[in-house]
């Protein structure tokens, strides 16, 4: 467990959008999907997933629908909306720009200055 990374502030929304962009998921499914694609390296406080989900739905980026889960229980499935897709795209771009910028700053050697 020690090797797990705490989630960076503000990145949970992006991860959720990414998770549901691959297909409709219920809340627990979102958690599993994130853990799966992160190779079990991310630590997410499970309860905090829900305020984020409701907030994203409130903003119109994801929509929800009640359906049946694999074990035949009533569950709420979230899927990405068109606005959410645009949001994910722009967030991804922003993140990549930021990450490469930070990386290049950190790579800087004394000689380069």
């Amino acid at each position: 467990m020690g090797k797990q990374i705490d989630l960076l502030q503000g990145t949970l929304d992006m991860l959720i959008l990414k998770a549901v962009s691959l297909g409709p998921l219920h809340g627990y499914g979102v958690l599993l999907r994130i853990q799966q694609i992160s190779g079990e390296q991310l630590e997410i406080q499970q309860g905090s997933l829900y305020p984020a989900l409701y907030r994203l739905e409130h903003q119109g980026w994801i929509s929800s629908e009640w359906g049946e889960s694999d074990n035949n229980r009533k569950a709420k499935f979230y899927s990405l909306t068109a606005a959410g897709r645009r949001q994910l795209h722009s967030e991804t771009e922003k993140w990549n720009r930021m990450a490469s910028l930070i990386a290049s700053i950190l790579r800087t050697t004394p000689e380069q200055i």
């Binding site: 309860g47 409130h58 903003q59």
Partner: protein, 902 residues
């Protein structure tokens, strides 16, 4: 951010609040169950798996709360709990709640009631189609200082065709009609206009039809439309009334329609309602031929063409008047500067009562201010007691903003309850208030509590809630954590911050009270002055009665057409009146004092043009006076004083030298350097008429109203110049109701078709003429009294609270040797300083705003010294008394007890 999506989502959750909760619950349970199932698969026991899953999920409630916050419904949840908390606090303290809600109900109720009247009379458009395009048309001669003069039929045609600004115009020919055929003849008010009068206003009948082109005749059409009131009164709401015959001034009219219930003629009236409407060209008999100089029409109404502004229409009319002056120089002498003016119809109807209504509205708004300041004070006192609660909340992590919100929610809850009670009060008392409204206020039949009034009441409630809630709310947010908890909320003294706030509240309360008192003082002084005004005669033991000799459309059927015919009628009436036991002297006049102050109404003040024999035509242009026709004993009945010359005699009759009597002001105005006795005047423009000689000068009589000066009067003998309007005045010690049957019997034994109406004492007539002033003075006076009471309660409460808070300090002071006098001085001084500040502030505001009331005052200047001395002295005395009571209690503090308790 897509605002609409978020709003819809918020709305969804607001509406389905319960569903949000259950959905969250289902979702969370599903999550935990699924996680537990996975953990069981990994080898944990069912029980252990559930435990583990719950731990991993974290605090369920706090996550749910975060969900609520994320969709924006948490705020509402908190509001709900604040409301419940506030409600519990009110229930816990029923005394405070009762006082606050009662005073609020009074304040909001008074505001709602007065505003419902203001709304109906001043704000709501007239109940006609596109009423903003309706205008009243005035003909003026500014060159000789005349406004609203009569006009002729050709001038009406000019407006219709030449002006090009009106969709339609109609003359309004107001008249009195004697309705016969019922058990008693009744005098009705009538309006005759063109056949398009109703279609111009956009009225539809409740029965039959209204006038149309088929009703056009040169004189009067023989068709009539009656009001809902007459239909019910005279015909018992008979649904078959259409087609029946109505006898008016002995002419038969066929009823063609009944107006809807709420319809009122949009013009000045005497009795308050016009009952009969006629139509016609107003050019044939009994009207003189339609030439420009025959100015027989009293007023006109028009509907502007759509899209035309008032200013554009006015500019066109001004230009047209100039063209007419140029085209017809003999009809429009240049120095008179004859012109046409239009005013919005609504303005002409309600303009004269606007100042009174606005002053009343101002007074009730001040009252609600004072009420809310008083409640703010009570709440502040309570807030000091709640310091510990606030401190604990702060310590537990509540934000200060959140606490301000909570306090405000509590206040607004209180104000909404008070406001609801106020609306109920207004609904319950409105009909009572309306009964006392002076009858000269138009449109009172339209007053009701509609959604505009309710919105106003709600606004006033919320604003008062904010006013009285803000002070304690801000105060509670400033609570110093540590000291409040340490002191345990006991409050060892009168803290400076709260103290200063409460001082400000008291000072403003007193200032508002001063403004109300000054206003009330000015109105009451005006009323008192008018009551003491010498009317120029002795109204006590005078009874009056009215009758009206009709004007049949065919002059040949008029028994009172000739001067001798009317004079004989007058003589016969007087002979019979004098024969009534208990009547000492009897006389006749064409216009009773103070009843004809409305210049536009039927039988109202009619100022006529006259000439003086030795003046040139040009200098005679501005000679106008009110002609009053009287019988010889008129001045004797009124006990007016003849200064010089003689009164009329029985010999001043038709065929003899016409005679006139003028009053002192008239004599001074027209003969400033000469003796008017023996001079000659002539009414009208007909040079063939004989001159009338002035034979007497009488002391001024307030003929047009106690508060109206400056109208010249010329009295003429009714035997030489009789009037169809016959008003009997009797000097008698008998009351009017007792005389009424005898007066009616005697007059109707001369002519059974004559109505006898308005049998009242002269005292009542004078009283009625002041009804409007009395109403506003009494109401504002009552509000001022209430304001003083509330302000003194405020200052008393403040000092009593200070005394109780500082009893320990007083104990120490007294233990250290302070005398009772010193302690008394300490508190009395506080009260006096606050009262002084409040009074000075109030006086400054009153002095700078008093002139706004100028139009409501008579004989009193807006800065009347007496009012501005008495008001502060009175209020100061009350304030000192209110401070003395708690200050004296301070001196009764027993040092031993005070110290031990503290």
């Amino acid at each position: 951010m897509n605002f609409l999506t978020r709003f819809l989502s918020w709305l969804k959750w607001m509406v389905k609040g319960q569903r949000l909760e259950s959905e969250m619950e289902t979702e969370v349970r599903f999550h935990i169950d699924s996680r537990a199932a996975d953990l069981v698969r990994k080898g944990l026991s069912q029980q252990e798996a559930m435990r583990q899953a719950r731990i991993e999920f974290g605090g369920i409630e706090s996550h749910k709360d975060a969900v609520r916050a994320s969709v924006g419904v948490r705020w509402w949840g908190e509001l709900g709990s604040d409301m419940r908390h506030g409600w519990r606090l009110l229930r816990k303290n029923p005394g405070f709640a009762a006082v606050a809600i009662l005073t609020l109900a009074l304040g909001v109720g008074a505001n709602t009631a007065i505003f419902s009247i203001v709304n109906a009379v001043l704000l709501r458009p007239l109940p006609f189609r596109d009423s903003d395009r309706l205008v009243r048309i005035y003909f003026n001669e500014p060159g000789v200082g005349l406004r609203d003069i009569p006009f002729s039929n050709p001038e009406m045609d000019d407006l219709q065709t030449r002006a090009g600004v009106f969709e339609d115009v109609t003359p309004i020919f107001e008249g009195s009609e004697n309705m016969t055929g019922a058990k008693q003849p009744e005098r009705l008010e009538a309006v005759n206009g063109s056949f398009s009068y109703f279609s111009m206003l956009g009225v539809t009948p409740q029965l039959g039809r209204l006038f149309g082109p088929q009703d056009f005749v040169p004189g009067f059409a023989s068709t009539a439309v009656i009001s809902d009131g007459l239909w019910r009164r005279a015909y018992g709401a008979d649904p078959n009334v259409v087609g029946r015959t109505l006898m008016l001034d002995t002419d038969p009219f066929t009823i063609i329609g009944v107006l809807p219930r709420g319809f009122r003629h949009p013009g000045p009236t005497v009795s308050g309602d016009v009952d009969v409407f006629g139509a016609g060209g107003l050019t044939g008999d009994p009207f003189p031929p339609p030439i420009r100089s025959n100015r027989v029409l009293g007023s006109g109404i028009g509907r502007l063409k759509p899209g035309l502004t008032l200013a554009q229409a006015q500019a066109r009319l001004t230009a047209m008047a100039a063209e007419l002056r140029h085209d017809f120089p003999t009809d429009y002498p240049p120095q008179a500067q004859w012109t046409v003016e239009i005013q919005p119809l609504q303005e002409t109807l309600v303009g004269n009562v606007r100042p009174m209504l606005l002053v009343l509205l101002g007074a009730v708004i001040l009252i609600v201010f004072i009420v809310s300041l008083n409640i703010a004070n009570l709440l502040l006192a309570r807030a000091s007691g709640r310091q510990q609660e606030m401190a604990v909340r702060l310590a537990l992590g509540a934000s200060r903003g959140r606490m301000v919100r909570q306090m405000l929610t509590e206040s607004i809850l209180l104000s909404l309850i008070g406001g609801a009670a106020g609306i109920l009060t207004a609904v319950g008392t409105l009909s009572f208030i309306l009964r006392f409204m002076p009858s000269n206020v138009p449109r009172l039949n339209e007053v009701r509590i509609d959604w505009v009034v309710l919105a106003f009441a709600l606004l006033v409630s919320i604003l008062t809630g904010l006013v009285f809630g803000l002070a304690p709310a801000l105060h509670s947010a400033k609570v110093a954590l540590s000291s409040a908890i340490r002191e345990g909320g006991r409050g060892s003294g009168y803290s400076t911050a709260t103290g200063r706030l409460r001082d400000v509240l008291i000072v403003s309360e007193l200032a508002f009270a001063v403004i109300l008192m000054a206003g009330a003082g000015l109105l009451l002084r005006t009323l008192r002055d008018l009551l003491q005004e010498n009317p120029g005669f002795h109204p006590t033991q005078v009874v009056t009665a009215n009758t009206w000799l009709g004007v049949p459309n065919d002059p040949k059927t008029d028994p009172y057409l000739s001067i001798p015919g009317m004079a004989n009628f007058d003589r016969e009436v007087l002979r019979r009146m004098k024969a009534i036991p208990g009547v000492e002297i009897a006389a006749i006049t064409s216009s009773l004092p103070t009843t004809n102050s409305n210049p536009d109404a039927v039988g109202g003040l009619r100022i006529e043009r006259f000439a003086i024999e030795d003046r040139t035509v040009e200098s005679s242009q501005d000679l106008r006076a009110e002609r009053i026709r009287i019988s010889p004993d008129y001045f004797k009945v009124l006990q007016a004083t003849l200064i010089r010359g003689r009164s009329f005699t029985e010999g001043d009759e038709d065929g003899k030298q016409p005679v006139a009597i003028v009053d002192e002001s008239t004599a001074r105005k027209f003969w400033p350097t000469h003796d008017p006795l023996g001079r000659q005047v002539r009414f009208g423009r007909d040079p063939a008429k004989p001159w009338t000689t002035v034979v007497g000068i009488i002391k001024d009589i307030k003929s047009d109203g106690l508060d109206i000066d400056g109208v010249p009067h010329i009295y003429v003998s009714t035997y030489q110049d009789p009037s169809k309007q016959v008003n009997v005045v009797l000097r008698t010690s008998l009351p009017a109701p007792q005389l009424e049957p005898q007066i009616r019997r005697e007059i109707q034994s001369i002519d059974p078709g004559l109505p006898v109406f308005n049998v009242v004492s002269m005292d009542d007539i004078l009283d009625r003429s002041l009804a409007s002033r009395r109403f506003s003075a009494d109401l504002v006076g009552g509000f001022a009294g209430l304001a003083v009471l509330l302000a003194s309660i405020g200052i008393y409460g403040l000092l009593a609270y200070m005394v109780s808070q500082r009893s320990r300090e007083i104990g120490i002071r007294m233990a250290l040797g302070a005398g009772r006098g010193g302690v008394l001085k300490l508190f009395l001084q506080k009260g006096i300083v606050l009262a002084g500040l409040g009074i000075v502030a109030g006086m400054v505001v009153s002095a700078s705003t008093a002139s706004l009331m100028g139009s409501l005052l008579y004989g009193v200047r807006p800065h009347d010294p007496a009012v501005f001395v008495i008001v502060p002295v009175l209020l100061f005395a009350v304030a000192v008394l209110a401070s003395y009571l708690p200050a004296r209690r301070a001196t009764k503090v027993d040092p031993m007890i005070a110290l031990r308790e503290a």
